[in-house]
Amino acid sequence: MAEQAQIEHLLRRTEFVARPARVAALMALSLEAAIDDILAVSAPPALPTYIDHNNDRDLDPAAPSNWDQYVYSLKWWFDRMAFDSPKPIQEKMTLFWHGHFTSDWWKVYDTWAMTSQNQLYRVNALGNFQTLAQQMAIEPAMLRYLDNADNTKSSPNQNFARELMELFLLGVGNYTEADVEASSAAWTGHTLDDDGHYWFRTDRHNNLSKTFFAVTGNLNGPDIINIILDKKKQIAARYIVGKLWDFFAAPGTQPNDGLDAIATTFASNWDIKVALKAILLLPEFYTDPVKQGLIRSPIDWVVAVMVQTGYRAGLLNPQWYVEGMGQVPFSPPNVSGWRPNGAWINTSSMGSRAEFARNATWRLRDAQLAQNAGRGDMGNLWTLPVDQAVDTVAALFALNPMSVRTRTALSDYANGERTLLPKADRNGWWMATNLLTMAMIAPEMHLA
């Protein structure tokens, strides 16, 4: 039997939120069995037809615009993260791969290509890393984003070839400029056809002999990935395992011995699920520096609010708020993806989170919406004793364990309003409203 606090922490990190029903179900299991349950994903459904086709209006005048598809895809993904995936780890891992093998809608400028790439990451979320890396390299979105579509034998473009090693597989310092040149030559000709689909153009491919990591021959792009994952398997494996740790546990807390061992196994089978399971089983994953060491990214936090209010993207429209918070899906700041923790904290981004919380609060105060979401109208908070009101909002947003400081702040606020407004039937609404917003933006809520 796992401990409740352990399971809650595990679920917050792997399923965005520790849903009470999931906590109850997993507490009946051993920790290992609970992790197996979390990671037991099945094949995701196909993308909705609205976004799953090229938006070329020359071919189909009725096709939705690229922009409309983009907005739709954002809402669709938010709903999938919050509600529609039976095993949210699949979406969490999709988000991880999107931040790792990243691409940007604003450069790719094609929603179909971006969502197609996203679906690749979803299908392979916990699959085989080598397979994923090979398919990632020839996805149209990546070919555009890192300019490999323009990489020809007569005019080489090193952008993808360089990032493949620097950011995707190895980390800086594990290759030479000569390796970049060889890799770039090997990747020539991997481009797109007029419809934006992958096309290997032999006429643009450099068929001369190249030497990469001491392997010489007429190397082609996919050979490069295989050579990296063979010759530098331990470095690559440790690099990815470390990024997984930083994403699920906390940056700056890597337990080297444990992760080195996991990397050794990962380098032998490239099984992402096995590696992640081992990470989640490390005792260090359950220590305070890890539990207290990760801030919910804007996407994480928005999804948590959606789950805990029960309101879908169509109602809360998170896509209009997340830019101010600093994280728009399909639009990372640069090729290295999003930075964790401190990057999310500044006055402007906290203001945007608070605005979204306000937006959600007003929905919470709508009795009909509350009923639809299967929950009582939070307006009755005003009629409860203060401690009970605080407990109610804390439970709603899973602020557990709640710090004394946060409880004191919530109680003081509620008590202060009571004192100033002793008549329960007068203006109590604002106390209830504000208490909900306060809880939604309490520090506990911003921590993963």
Binding site: S155, G252, M325, S331, P332, W338, T419
Partner: protein, 837 residues
């Protein structure tokens, strides 16, 4: 978020390589947002942070975050730079037109601006003229406040929007920059950089405001959507959120950092909220520059404000489109100067920039394509107007036409413009910021020098000049009164800025006669931005090196102050750091001649609601008051008309304040001490007695217990009279040997020094401050040579600084003893007066 793409198809066609794929129309999307994202910005996505990068995060750490919100008035010679970014590449040749040059007309047959026709350009001399929509700029030019810089660009131009803008923002050429020139200037000024030093008007932070460690602040042009309301209801709510960071939650660094950032957001939103009233009805650049001007007028400390105007990429339809942009630029500059207070007009400078100019040749679509250098404006009251630099040649090196796809050559490095701004306006450091020495342009008058029609700036909040030497008052008698509020800077006044003072008139109103020589004031610091202290002293003498109360910032701290008044009946209140609001209530005064005299009593507990002393054994409920009969109790004479109480709040369930006033009188708007839930807080209270010889005590907040010790009383029949002094510091254990006070009482001689005579002194009025203590406890001040009473004058908190007024009987040896109950504690003692028979 995410505006639909602003098409720049033509731009990309020009930018692209010879690969046809780039021309398929799917890869556009260059607009300002795009630039920012590509250079690693977009709000919060800011690439500078990873893991525990405390360099930036330090602003939000519990012990340091308050430093981030300093703000505060500008010094009289602090220059302010306002940046106008023209995104997309402004056509300098159609902004400042070389109208006497025939080549101009040869290249631009379909878009040339002329001195004749329906919209003639505005000549500024025989060779150059301004776009016809720049009429306000021309008016300023005529006042010699516009410098026009010719041919500004960067070497080895790259025609890409992205790269060019990245270099301009970075202030460095080449590579993929991760920080910008203003950001590095912020880095360089160190601790003086805070949330109120550099800001952009907009919701995302551009690269030039991002440093390696520091970053600028983003202020949305419509104000913050959250945190800016200032009505009482919302303020309580925001205070609730801010209280998440009132102390460490013990949940690790990130928890506290989040709480601090939320607090910072509200602090910023509230501080800037007033500038968004009345509503700004203009739009575009005029709105942003109006916001910028109002921020400057508010004197929050901003040295750099950044604004932007986009869509300058006029590959086609330029005559109309560019005309619109010039109109927006002109209107924006006009709105700025219409809004800017004359106080700042001679130290605020506007500067334009753009990633590049445009081709000398126009194209067949009445447009121009990506070019190189362009003319830029530097505008302000301290600018020496005129044309600077060398106009780029419009001919080839052999004197013929520039070829069709040729570009003009820059004649001024953009970093010369930056160096001029940094060293001429922002206090220096250009060579460090820019990584080299660039020739500066001699276009500034000295910052702050009077110019044109603008009056001299005053020094904000400067105290009245000392005019008389510090002298003691004559012997004076006490007159107690119902408290009256003299000033509350929250009501329409400005907070007191850093190292600034306000003057508060005490006598001649509020029931205080004009001949009052000293006053008993309850002074409260409210919501200060920084750890600081206030000093209260007579308004006509130099500020002494004493303090009256200490604030950690973000709290409400009162203290009783007895101060001599200036000849005109006023006191000054000085604030050391940050900004703080201040409330001053008068509770009594001293006059020569008849009145009450002071009788010092051995401390005696007259009220303890925990034990049923003086009142029923029950907490005082919220919004209720109790009457405490003091007359005839604890040694207080039956004919006393005022008492000195040390009132302590303990176990309050919520934040609130206590008001003491004469029983039977209406409750005044005043407060004697402030508390938050769970705190134990004392304050000395001088209260006039009302009906039945009683004092009323009102509790505004949650339920709380009250404890009161009586320390003395005032009566007409007998007693000592007060001699008020200009404050003087008697003791500071941090000085000299630096020995903190342990649990052995120390003796402090208080007579025959600092204005206190050698004899005839029955008691002294001290302000005692405990600071830097290692433990929670209390301090007792008692007559030297006598047994230490079980009483406390001041409650100490480990690590905190607290002050309280103390009226102490002097021992036979002319000294008082100070006892610290726990740990090591530094004590600071100032004398403000003494009692004499």
């Amino acid at each position: 978020m995410l505006d639909p793409d602003i098409s720049a198809r033509d731009a990309l066609a020009l930018l692209s390589t010879n690969d046809a794929h780039r021309l398929d129309g799917t890869r556009e999307g260059f607009n300002r947002r795009r630039f920012l994202q590509m250079v690693g910005l977009g709000l919060g996505g800011g690439a500078v942070l990873s893991g525990l990068d405390t360099g930036v995060l330090g602003q939000f750490l519990p012990d340091e975050w308050r430093q981030a919100f300093a703000g505060g008035p500008l010094g009289p010679t602090d220059g302010v730079l306002v940046i106008i970014g023209m995104y997309g590449g402004n056509d300098g040749l159609n902004t400042v037109i070389p109208y006497s040059n025939p080549r101009y007309y040869e290249y631009r047959t379909n878009i040339a601006l002329r001195t004749t026709g329906t919209n003639p350009l505005i000549p500024i001399n025989d060779d150059f003229g301004l776009h016809h929509n720049l009429s306000f700029v021309k008016a300023l030019y005529d006042q010699q406040q516009v410098a026009i810089l010719h041919g500004v660009g960067y070497p080895n131009p790259d025609l890409s929007h992205f790269n060019s803008m990245a270099y301009w923002m970075a202030g460095k050429v080449g590579g993929t920059p991760s920080n910008g020139w203003i950001g590095r200037w912020l880095d360089g000024i160190g601790a003086r950089a805070d949330l109120y030093t550099a800001g952009t008007i907009g919701s995302s932070l551009p690269l030039h405001l991002l440093g390696q460690v520091k970053r600028g602040t983003a202020i949305p042009e419509n104000g913050f959507g959250f945190g800016g309301d200032t009505d009482a209801v919302q303020t309580r709510f925001y205070n609730g959120i801010k209280s998440y960071s009132s102390q460490s939650a013990g949940r690790g660094i990130w928890h506290d950092a989040i709480a601090g950032a939320s607090r910072g957001q509200i602090d910023l939103a509230q501080r800037v909220a007033p500038i968004f009233e009345p509503e700004i009805t203009s739009d575009s650049l005029a709105k942003k520059l109006t916001v910028a001007a109002r921020l400057i007028n508010a004197d929050l400390g901003f040295r750099v404000l950044d604004t932007s105007l986009d869509s300058f990429d006029h590959h086609s339809g330029e005559p109309y489109e560019h005309g619109q942009k010039m109109q927006e630029l002109n209107d924006g500059i006009a709105a700025f100067f219409a809004t800017l207070s004359p106080t700042f007009a001679n130290r605020v400078t506007l500067m334009t920039f753009s990633e590049f100019g445009r081709t000398p040749w126009s194209n067949d679509s009445q447009g121009t394509d990506h070019g190189t250098a362009g003319a830029h404006f530097v505008i302000g009251g301290n600018v020496k107007g005129g044309l600077y630099g060398t106009p780029p040649s419009l001919s080839s090196s052999t004197g013929g036409q520039i070829e069709r796809w040729g570009r003009i050559k820059m004649t001024m490095d953009f970093r010369s413009m930056y160096a001029t701004m940094i060293d001429g306006l922002l206090g220096g450091g250009a060579s460090t910021v820019l990584g080299g020495n660039f020739e500066k342009i001699d276009l500034f008058r000295p910052v702050g020098a009077p110019v044109g029609n603008f009056p001299d700036p005053g020094v904000p909040g400067s105290p009245s000049t000392p005019t008389v030497p510090a002298t003691p008052s004559g012997p004076a008698s006490f007159v107690g009164m119902t408290p009256a509020r003299l000033i509350d800077t929250r009501d329409g006044g400005a907070p007191i800025g850093a190292a600034s003072s306000i003057t508060v008139q005490v006598s001649g109103g509020h029931g205080v006669p004009a001949d009052a020589v000293a006053a008993v004031l309850n002074v409260t610091a409210v919501d200060g931005t920084d750890p600081s202290y206030l000093t209260v002293w007579p308004a006509d003498v130099a500020k002494p090196n004493t303090s009256s109360l200490n604030t950690r910032g973000g709290d409400v701290v009162p203290n009783l102050v007895i101060s001599k008044l200036s000849a005109a009946g006023a006191v000054n209140v000085f604030n050391l750091a940050g900004m703080t609001h201040c409330v001053v209530d008068v509770v009594g005064y001293f006059v020569g001649g008849s009145g009450s005299r002071f009788t010092s009593l051995s401390p005696s507990r007259v009220l303890d609601t925990r034990d049923g002393i003086g009142a029923p054994a029950t907490a005082v409920g919220p919004g209720t008051s109790i009457d405490l009969v003091v007359s005839g109790v604890g040694g207080v004479a039956a004919d006393a008309d005022a008492v000195v109480l040390n009132v302590t709040v303990t176990e309050p369930t919520a934040a609130g304040f206590i008001t003491a006033w004469p029983a039977g009188a209406p409750r005044p708007t005043a407060s004697n001490l402030n508390f938050v839930a769970g705190q134990t807080v004392p304050n000395l209270v001088v209260a006039k007695l009302g009906a039945g010889g009683a004092v009323s005590l009102f509790n505004s907040g949650g339920s709380t217990h009250l404890v009161a010790d009586v320390l003395g009383c005032f009566r007409s029949a007998d007693g000592a009279r007060l001699i008020a002094l200009s404050p003087a510091r008697l003791l500071d254990t941090r000085e000299g040997s630096g020995q903190a006070v342990l649990q052995t009482p120390i003796t402090l001689s208080v007579v025959n020094r600092d204005g206190v005579p050698a004899s005839g002194v029955t008691g002294v009025v001290l302000n005692v401050t405990a600071t830097g203590g290692s433990a929670n406890g209390y301090v007792t001040v008692f007559p030297s040579g006598e047994a230490r009473p079980m009483a406390s004058n001041l409650n100490t908190v480990a690590g905190a600084t607290r002050a309280n007024l103390v009226i102490a009987k002097v021992g036979a040896d002319g000294a008082v003893a100070l006892f610290n109950s726990a740990g090591a504690q530094h004590l600071v003692v100032d004398v403000v007066g003494y009692f004499t028979t």
